[in-house]
Every structure is written in structure tokens, then in C-alpha cells.
Amino acid sequence: MVRFILNRLAQAALSLFGVLTVVFFAVHIAGDPVRLLVPQNSSAADIARLSRQLGLDRPLVDQYWTFLVHAAHGNFGYSFVLDQPALGIVLTRFPNTVELAAGALVFALSLAIPIGILSAVFRGKWIERALMPVILIGQSMPVFWSGILLILIFAVHWHVFPSSGQGGLRALILPSVTLGSLSLATIARMIRGSFLEHLNREYVRTAKAKGASASRVLLRHVFRNAFLPVLTVLGMETANLLGGAVIAEEIFAWPGIGQLTVQAVQSLDFPVVEAVVLFAATIYILANLAVDLLYGVVDPRLRHEGNQQ
């Protein structure tokens, strides 16, 4: 178990390093980073000074090293617009995104689990035929359209929910539904696939041979086994939630890191964009690490991996 944890930790550290590397080279190969790091109306002298100051005239490898050292200290540069450390801005906005993402995940899971299981158990029956279009629609519905439609119907037309801003559960509902609908489709699909596979496993036949009822077979035997692979998808869904948050927060004026990203992009505040991406990548990696460790707790086969020798 200890070896398992250490192994996963090392992998996460490596991924983090990889993210920094990819971001560094993406930005540096893409163009002149100074142009991105100075306000738009800077003079050529200003740019040259900053270039020297930031060491951008030094060899790329040197710069890469400095970038890594700075990143390790949580230094992602300064926001031009707000004149604050970029990471600090991201951190103050982050709790709002967590709130939204949690709402979205609750919405997605509470529908995806029943939809996934029912469409697997009633494969080929009318229930499945009724549920599969729901999944297809959820998967194909662009967040920025469904969000606008929801506002149109529930905020503009019926005045049931506020159309923008944060505050209380009522304000959370529309953005959560918007953000969660894509995850809903993905997770429901995954659950359906996993249940279909496990319903045909031999241990299910054994349970039936014992005289177990259909619900007992499903809940006591299939559920835990079939849900394991879904955990992995949940970890990966954090990427969709963080990416989708950019759109959902923009539509609902939700003051999280997604809205921050759009604002930073529009005001060409590049250090903040970079900080958001690196921060989100870190969160994503940590979420997947958490899922891996959770696996170790839930699956006895992994728990004993280290002890067997």
C-alpha cells in the first residue's frame, strides 16, 4: 500500500513537471513572450528593458530553469491589470469555482447514476430507448447554448431563478445544471457501459445461483464492482468541469476562475491566464491522484499489491 501511494505521488509530481514544461514551451515557441508580458502600449525601450529584466535574452534552457524555480515558489508573475501576484488572484476566485463545480457534480451524479444503471439493466427495453436520447442530447448540448436557453426560460420568462451572479442555492442551480449536463452524459455512458459488462460477469451468475434477488445482485454485487472504473472518469471529469467553468461562469457572471480567465484574455493580462492554466492543471492532477488513492481504499486487490511478495 505504501509503495502504491509513493508510486502515485511520484507520477503526480512528474505530471506536474510535465505541465510546466508544456506550458513553458507552448508560450515560448508560440511567440515573443515579452509581447505577452507587457501592457499593449509599451514602447520598444520598455520591452527591451523588461526583456533583460526577465532574462529573456538568456538561453532558453536558463529561462526554463528560472521558470521552474519561480513556479516552485508559486511565483507566476504579476497581473498588469490588478497589479497583484497572479496566483493570489486565482486563489481568491477559486472557492467560487469549487462551489459551482460541486453543484454541477451533484447534479450530474444524481441523474447519471440512475440513468446509467437503468439503461444497462433494461437494455433493449423501452426504458433504455427513452434514456439513450437524453444521454446523446446531454453530450451534444454546448454549454454556452444550454446556459443561455436556461436563462431564457427560467430567468427571463418565468423569473424562477436569477440569471446571473452568486448568492445562495437558488443562484447556484442554473449554472450547475449548465455545467453539469456534459458530465452527466459522459458519466451516464460510462456507468451504462460498466454495468453492462459486469452484469455478464461470472460472479453475478454465482450470486443468482445463491438465490439472490435481482435488486440484491445489483446493489450488493454489481454496483461496487461496476462503479470502480467510473471513479476514474470522475477524476477526468474535473478537466471538463474546469474547462466548462470558463463558459458557464462567463454566461452566469459567476466570479470564479473561469470568468477570471475570460476577463484576463480580453484585457490581455497574460500572466493571469498562465497562472489559471497552471493552477487548473495542478487541481486536475491532484483530483486524479485522489481518485487513484481512493481506488486503493475501495479495491482490495490494489490494497494488497505491495504486501504480496
Binding site: 445461483a209 445463491k210 454485487h221 464492482n225 486487490r301
Partner: protein, 350 residues
């Protein structure tokens, strides 16, 4: 629970009568079991033998009511202790499964729930059928583990399947199958996936259980050697039909069906047969569903086949007491193992 009137103990425990099972393959209904009849007495071990694809497992599953969604019983009846079970709704059938009849499977590696401690899996049978109090159940599980030869039962019960060897897992399966003291135990190739020493131990265990508890066993295998060791009576199946039924000694001494003869030669000959391979003594393979000939299903592979075998299907008929065979030209004389090769079948045929 109404199990009907008390029946005399001489009545068969299980009576399968004229059972046909259809499988749907690519929208086509194919007959997988054709008018199979069989009975098992109390305390008797009946062996079902045949190559893979002969319908042995299909028959076992139809008794348990565990046929897949694409297969269904289209004709005939199955009675357990005098009660008709083939037409029961799932709810009614559940009272029998695990309690009056239970089943162990070929692959102990995958037949157990990987995320549940084995003790709990055994105990679940008692929970489902509401047998005993909570502490009774715990004691019973320990007792069962001892009974099937799993030493250190308390520790074993707390282990997960992946921590046990194949043989131990099959013992757990047997413990599970015996938990509610069923009258009938169906064993579907229970030793095929195990190595030879473990195989012998498991067979001994099954014999011991029959002797001690009087459990009837339906033993499905493709291995004539195993049949010789455990069975009292043997049913030979081919292409979804019963082709020969006889007490084990009579069958080995005087096989009547050419197919039985071939199966026997395959164990007495120099080569033992690996799983899924052609029998060296019988050329060709079992016909797949939908390709079963309209005459005697074995005719294309039979060295003694004549015109009549291809045109007309033989019915089961008694050739000597307790010995029935479905063949127009049954082998008359006993097959000697020394008699070389398959030519003996030909020369023995009339």
C-alpha cells in the same frame, strides 16, 4: 413454503422430462437441447459427459433457471422433489436456488465477487434464505470452511478471493453451495481449471459430501477419467441430445454408442485430450448450433454410419436393463482398450 406432499424417498430427486431449449442466434431460433430426459435419485452422482458444445452446461443452467436472455425452455418439464420448477417466475425460483439446489462453476477464479470477503459471500446464502440467527450464521460459516477443508477458517473467511489459490476458491464455492444443505448440487466442470493434484482433492471432497450429507450431485464434465472416479450413472450427450445412459460400470464395460466408444478410447489411448481439441479417436468436431443434421447428429463423424443414420434420427431405447442408447446400430461387444485405434469401432459395428 409449500413443497407439496411428502414423497417416498425412492422417487427421483430431479426429473427432467422431454426438455427442449432454444437459443436465438442472429434472429434465428436454434435448438440447443432437444428432448432431453434425465433423472437423479437421492444421494446419486450422475455424470454428464460430452465434448464442449454438446449442451451439458446449457442443461445445468436450465435446471437452475440461469439460462441467458437469448435462450428459453420451449418444451418439457423439470421437477425437483416433485415440484415443477421450469415454469416458475423468478421470485418463486429464487426459493430453490441456493437452498434446494445449488451450483458450482468451472472457473473459481472469476466466479467469486472480487470485492467481497469470501466469508461474507458464503454467509450471504444463509442471509438470503433467512437461515439461523446472526451468530448461528457466523458459526455455520466457520463450520462450512472446516468441512470443505479450508484450515484456519476464521482468517480465511476474512480474505478476499484474490488472496486464495484456485483450489481454495473452488472450496469456497463448494462451501457456498453447501451452506443451505441443498438436496442437489450441480457441478459444472468444477475441476477443469485446476491442476491434477487439486483436482483429485476436490473430487474426493465431493464424494465425501455425498456420503456424509446424502447430497445428489449432477457432475458435468468432458473428462471420462473424472466420470469413472465419481459418477454412479453416466449420461452421454452429443449435439444437444442424450445419446446414451448407463450405470458407470456398464458404460465403461459395454459402451453402446459409437460416440461413447470414441470418448472412452480417448482416455485409454496414449494421448489425453487437451481442452477444446479434437478427440484423436473421433475425427471432426461437434456441429455448431444450426448445423445439426436431421438424422443421427453423430452420423457425419461416425465410422459406422449407414444410410439410415443420415435419414432418420434414432430415439433412446433400452438395450439392456438400465442401459439406453440412441443408435440404429449400437456397438455390441465391449471395446477393448488394447484394440488399436478407431478401426475397432468400425469392425464392431454390425
Amino acid at each position: 413454503m409449500t413443497l407439496g406432499t411428502v414423497r417416498p424417498t425412492t422417487a427421483p430427486l430431479l426429473e427432467m422430462d422431454d426438455l427442449s431449449v432454444c437459443v436465438e442466434i442472429k434472429g434465428q431460433q436454434e435448438l440447443a437441447l432437444s428432448r432431453v430426459s434425465l433423472s437423479i435419485n437421492r444421494g446419486e452422482i450422475v455424470g454428464i459427459v460430452g465434448e464442449s458444445g454438446c449442451g451439458k452446461t446449457m442443461m445445468a443452467l436450465s435446471i437452475m433457471g440461469l439460462l441467458g436472455e437469448n435462450s428459453k425452455i420451449v418444451r418439457g418439464s423439470i421437477r425437483l422433489e416433485g415440484e415443477e420448477i421450469s415454469s416458475l417466475a423468478p421470485r418463486g425460483l429464487r426459493r430453490y436456488r441456493g437452498r434446494r439446489m445449488s451450483m458450482i462453476f468451472q472457473e473459481p477464479m472469476v466466479a467469486l465477487n472480487p470485492l467481497m470477503r469470501v466469508g461474507r459471500q458464503v454467509k450471504e446464502v444463509l442471509t438470503i434464505h433467512r437461515i439461523g440467527s446472526r451468530s448461528d450464521r457466523r458459526r455455520r460459516v466457520a463450520e462450512l470452511f472446516n468441512q470443505v477443508g479450508l484450515s484456519g477458517s476464521v482468517i480465511r473467511a476474512r480474505q478476499y478471493p484474490h488472496e486464495l489459490s484456485g483450489g481454495m476458491r473452488q472450496r469456497v464455492m463448494i462451501a457456498m453451495a453447501l451452506a443451505a444443505e441443498p438436496a442437489l448440487l450441480i457441478a459444472d466442470e468444477p475441476t477443469t481449471a485446476l491442476d491434477a493434484t487439486v483436482q483429485a482433492q476436490i473430487l474426493d471432497l465431493l464424494l465425501e459430501i455425498r456420503d456424509r450429507l446424502g447430497t445428489s450431485v449432477l457432475f458435468v464434465t468432458h473428462d471420462m477419467g473424472v466420470i469413472a472416479e465419481v459418477a454412479d450413472r453416466v449420461v452421454v450427450m452429443y449435439a444437444g441430445q442424450v445419446v446414451e445412459v448407463a450405470p458407470v460400470n456398464a458404460l465403461f464395460a459395454r459402451p453402446m454408442h459409437p460416440y461413447t466408444g470414441g470418448l472412452l478410447q480417448s482416455i485409454t489411448g496414449p494421448l489425453s485430450v487437451a481442452k477444446g481439441q479434437d478427440l484423436p479417436t473421433i475425427p471432426g468436431r461437434v456441429p455448431s448450433l444450426g448445423d445439426i443434421p436431421s438424422g443421427c447428429p453423430f452420423a457425419p463423424r461416425c465410422l459406422a454410419a449407414q444410410d439410415r443414420c443420415i435419414e432418420e434420427r434414432p430415439e433412446l431405447g433400452e438395450v439392456e436393463p438400465e442401459h439406453t442408447v440412441a443408435c440404429w446400430f449400437p456397438l455390441a461387444a465391449p471395446v477393448k482398450s488394447e484394440a488399436g485405434g478407431s478401426s475397432s469401432i468400425k469392425s464392431d459395428a454390425p
